[in-house]
Symmetry: C3
Subunit: 290 residues, 3 copies
Amino acid sequence: QSSVTLYGRLNTTVENQKVNGGLSKWVVANNSSRLGFKGVEDIGGGLKASFNLEHGFQSDTGTQNLLSDGKPAAFWGREAWVQLAGSFGAVRLGNFTPESYFATADYISMHNHDTGSSSDELYDFSTYRSKNKVGYFTPSMGGLSASLSMSAGEGNSGEKRLIDTAVNYVAGPFHAGFGYAKHGDVNQWALRGLYEMGAFTFGAYYQIAENGYAKKYKNGRLAAMYSMGASEFHLNYGRATDGDQYTLGYNYNLSKRTKVYAYYTDRDTARGTARSGEFSSLAMGVRHNF
Amino acid sequence: QSSVTLYGRLNTTVENQKVNGGLSKWVVANNSSRLGFKGVEDIGGGLKASFNLEHGFQSDTGTQNLLSDGKPAAFWGREAWVQLAGSFGAVRLGNFTPESYFATADYISMHNHDTGSSSDELYDFSTYRSKNKVGYFTPSMGGLSASLSMSAGEGNSGEKRLIDTAVNYVAGPFHAGFGYAKHGDVNQWALRGLYEMGAFTFGAYYQIAENGYAKKYKNGRLAAMYSMGASEFHLNYGRATDGDQYTLGYNYNLSKRTKVYAYYTDRDTARGTARSGEFSSLAMGVRHNF
Amino acid sequence: QSSVTLYGRLNTTVENQKVNGGLSKWVVANNSSRLGFKGVEDIGGGLKASFNLEHGFQSDTGTQNLLSDGKPAAFWGREAWVQLAGSFGAVRLGNFTPESYFATADYISMHNHDTGSSSDELYDFSTYRSKNKVGYFTPSMGGLSASLSMSAGEGNSGEKRLIDTAVNYVAGPFHAGFGYAKHGDVNQWALRGLYEMGAFTFGAYYQIAENGYAKKYKNGRLAAMYSMGASEFHLNYGRATDGDQYTLGYNYNLSKRTKVYAYYTDRDTARGTARSGEFSSLAMGVRHNF
């Protein structure tokens, strides 16, 4: 009847974490596990209708994702959209991840796709909004593509007008991206590059944000990967106005779908206390895609 | 192993809404989006076991459906039942939509299947209960079928004994229905007709309810559709004891599964203030079934 | 793309219940209905990656499972884990049912797999923990298998170090099991046997728990089944330090997946008031697996 694809990811670590210099503790931790449904209908004449519903859950406890106040996040909080696409590009309605993030911070987070305790804590997420959006995506033109999403505040508390835009460019081994977002008076932009050089891949982004907790917040990050057979060696280093973060990681790909991995990650607050504090973790995990 | 059908609907609009004469605002809105699982097992000897689980979510935000107080509604609040069917008819247990509603208000809501900002605000929903029910459905006998559902209050706050019954009849282009429901001391009945005449379809229902906010609440509605190729033109007009509501709609069916559409809907409180106020909206949307 | 199995169970009863000697009331009740996704990836070299996500819901109301305080339980509260298995056995991470329970109380609950109003109310669940676990499962060695799971408290309120271990043994018609669990200072162990003798199956377990509400809590249970064609006749009797519970049941298997059944169950508090009180119910139901 319908051709829906069910997909997902369980990504679970066992970690020895140390928070704000306290005693270390053992935890089983989730790294952005998810379950999704998606489908595409070929309408003919080059037109396609598609949808995506993506749910985030905690693979350590079985709980649906929670907000920072402990209340449940939107069940389909990762993605919930319907789209019409054709030669003109694509128009998307609903709840979807900001393209400004995908084009920059997410793109170079190669060691564990920006999840869990080694996720990017320095990127400025102040303008990050998913819900109530209308988005337009250009077709790819010689490796260049762009997108623009907007939402109105709709009278919701804490919500204002949002503009989120991204540009991506790929030419052989060279990948570049740009993201800009403005939510009310808060704005941020970031520029990203990534280069594949044989067994090595190098990536970097630089972000500037103007928001409530810093007059001008600056943040940069470097990422490097070396592949050898099923093994990947990773280095990821970020430096921002108020702190630093680095991760050393090793991934062993058991298959295209499943990897086991280990990393050490460390975040400090060398230049300020605005962030959530000092943190380090030694982690081992399994990521299984389905 | 099992033969479960996954199905669903994303139905999302961009609307310019005006509430109680205030300033108009732009919103992205959900129109009863859903995700379901259903299956039928042929046991043999004419006996079939089946089930249905149907989840309602908000395609604009990704949130599961909410109650009017903002708390989450039952996750499988649309349908959650198991059924045994045979030559005797069918017996169903669990949570399911009142047949009295399907037989009347829902049946003639052709322009956007009674969802979103143009849904029927005048139908009296006081007796509408889904949960904790036992239902019996007759087989179809020469176009005639009937159903009876019951639930006890089970000591739950606000719940009392419920009886919900419906009769449906189809003879060629003529369709008729009747619904009656009684919850505690509150009751309502409605009668519905629908007639297909070439490219035109005409439908109407009339409802009388005796409940808390009006001694005798009366409500009637007319609906008309004109089909031309992939286009549908809709008119829907309701008039009740305390107000009026009308919708002018246009649907363009891109395929059997996907339509784009536009409507203008207006609700007033010309004869009372019991309802939720004046409201109008100009909407454009996409509905995609999978 | 992926080979995920969707499975589930709707198990719904209509019951006439009597609580603490009060008036009897009619209810439609859920008996541990569930919906799950699972998959196995054959990685090669004897290695397999697998996962399981299992959601519990109330088939009478459509609500996701609730905690005793009425708040929602973890959505994937039944199972949410990823596993790597090979000749060495299996290592599992996440949220999963205690093996000490599966090996004992659950194993002999044959009349309705320990669900609903006739579920085992005497088994001591004080050490029952599912989340944040690391588990190791031995391969089966001549009918013998064992498992060990652990979790740290992780600083969560009410959580302490957990050890949960089980041993299972099968030799033809003879099945035996042992479970031991320790959560902080609370511990319990139980021993179980089950014997198949033609149309008869007999099972029993005995449990001793040391926990907060009794210096030494003792609990034993007997279960017997007689099969005749599609019919099963069940007797289940438990006796504990503070009360008794028995169930007389009849199941008629319409197919391998679907049964209709009836039971009478009764729980008293003859030797104490620690439990949730006196309760009896006459129930009829349908269980449909998919």
